[in-house]
């Protein structure tokens, strides 16, 4: 149980061979460098015996590769991101990559700081949910850098950067169509006051629906960042009270839906009798809740799989030959109780 630090040098000395030889053996380059089988065995045996394995740090310093991919999202405690994180981690692990997570808090400053830190750690690639207010130029610059960057969940319309996102427009449209099929006409839309692409796209579906039907939109934009605070509840309460004619609401995020349903409960609005509800992005709670909540489901496994496969592909392609990969996946509707219009019920 000797605590002495192992190193290639020490091994080389112990075995009376050169550092180079040991390194070759360790990296499977012994054969191509004509190291004799006898010596290979000797080195391998000793390395195994002392339980040595090389310092990634030194390795990274030398090679410029770290086998680390960073996953930077708005908030790692958000179940959606956490789930994707887990899936990515498992996938990457198989390919010998480690994942470092980090939360951007949607703060461009913090994000840039973190990217700098990671740049410096020589991470091999970045997966990022770009925060609001992030300078597109920086993203552009970063994405042309030696280490690939993939945007995720949302993209920046003006920047040519690889991304994996879902078709938010189609996703929202499917939900809205379901309302219409169920005979619901007075549909409201609750979203965040944010200009992130995914939010815009979801709202676009609603706006388009309104235009097609020739009705005027009833949109609530909850102040961004406040959605766990009282402001959100107040905004929602006001919205419900001022729009009593509504019989269905599409919530652009699951958090908003939960907040909204809580407020409805306080106001005595029954779901789905008084008000049908669909939320964008599924959630554990939705299937436990009474009533169960219809939601737009993002294909998490597919997203994770595409993220990691795209990342590896980019990493293994020379910078010059890299092409911008734009991957758009389809969401689906998970129909549950909350979106059903029950004919002949109250209201």
């Amino acid at each position: 149980m000797q605590k002495k630090k192992h190193s290639i040098k020490a091994i080389a000395k112990e075995l009376n061979v050169s550092v180079t030889t040991v390194s070759f053996v360790l990296n499977g380059k012994a054969e191509e460098n004509r190291i004799s089988q006898k010596l290979i065995d000797k080195v391998q045996a000793y390395v195994k015996e002392i339980g040595y394995y090389p310092s990634q740090l030194a390795k990274s310093l030398r090679t410029g590769k770290s086998n680390i991919i960073v996953f930077m999202v708005e908030d790692i405690s958000n179940p959606f991101f956490a789930t994707i994180a887990k899936l990515i981690e498992d996938q990457a692990f198989k390919d010998g990559y480690k994942i470092i997570y980090s939360s951007t808090n949607n703060d461009p400053e913090k994000t840039m700081g973190l990217i700098r830190v990671f740049k410096d750690l020589q991470v091999d690639g970045y997966i990022l949910t770009p925060p609001v207010g992030m300078d597109p130029k920086l993203i552009k610059e970063l994405s042309n850098d030696r280490n690939p960057m993939i945007l995720f969940d949302r993209y920046l319309p003006d920047v040519e950067c690889s991304h994996v996102v879902i078709d938010n427009f189609q996703g929202a449209k499917q939900g809205l169509d379901l309302f219409l099929e169920n005979g619901l006409k007075e549909i409201g839309f609750v979203t965040l006051d944010s200009n992130q692409s995914q939010m815009q796209d979801r709202k676009e579906a609603y706006d388009q629906m309104c235009e097609t039907l020739g009705i005027s939109p009833k949109v609530l934009k909850v102040p961004f960042g406040s959605y766990s605070s009282l402001d959100a509840a107040k905004a929602l309460k006001g919205y419900f009270l001022n729009n009593k004619e509504l019989d269905a609401i599409f919530f652009a995020t699951n958090y908003l839906a939960m907040k909204g349903m809580q407020v409805m409960k306080e106001l005595g609005i029954k779901i789905p009798e008084d008000m049908a509800v669909i939320a964008f992005d599924d959630n554990e709670f939705f299937k436990f809740n009474t009533p169960t909540v219809t939601s737009i489901v993002q294909p998490k496994e597919e997203i994770a799989q595409k993220l990691i496969s795209t990342m590896l592909e980019l990493i293994n392609t020379d910078v010059e030959e890299r092409k911008v990969k734009k991957i758009v996946l389809q969401a689906s509707v998970n129909e549950r109780e909350s979106s059903k219009k029950k004919v002949g019920m109250s209201k």
Copy 2:
């Protein structure tokens, strides 16, 4: 916008000074090494101009410090862990530390593999939820290592290792006492079939209560690892049907409670009229649900704060002088609708 790599060497050359001098200036050791103010200014100005900042990698290699703390939990997508992770991250960031997260999947092999990887990355400390079946000897060994390790959420009874946990016994007891105060007598206990310390301690409170009251325990141990699968639902269903006399159930985890309540819903068991419910560990869902669910709340902020402050304290203490820190925090009851026995209701 030159892409040329910056390095201390390059700077030294450019300014016609030695590498040493630049290093001293960068590390604030210029004064104590009698570098003239003039030169200090010159170096600092240039460094700022080219936007240089040193490679952590090289730094770590040399100093053996990385300013990284690893946070390894069973499953980072579990909201409890994710929330703690976020809190820790924010706290650590202020002190100049970065956090790397990782999931152990409760797999001792994977855990050891990860620890090895991190050891190698020269991380400064470990925060770990030890997986079931983890060799206590290894933990013991690791905790005596140069880099501190803090166990969290659960501990290993036989190992002298620093930890931050909550008083699971008292927490569970408070919930059970609440049942008793509300006049509920036939109390069941649903837990995981796991010998993790936190689970044992929760159950201990129940067993003790039964003994005090002189009643026979009615415990369901849901197979571990299956709690998102059908097995769990089946087990729960059987338990409810075979114990119709129960009028209250304490769930040892929030997940079990959600699953349990779903099954009750299917069986037509009304909460709290037919069955009162308390869950260990609060959850977003519990305050949205109908009825809202009473739960034992873990002081997450406090846990995170203690974890980080203890870690920093250990890091900044010489190995020889380090003492094992055992921190036990108190949980509290968040009383909501599900635990009330409504007199005169059905049953």
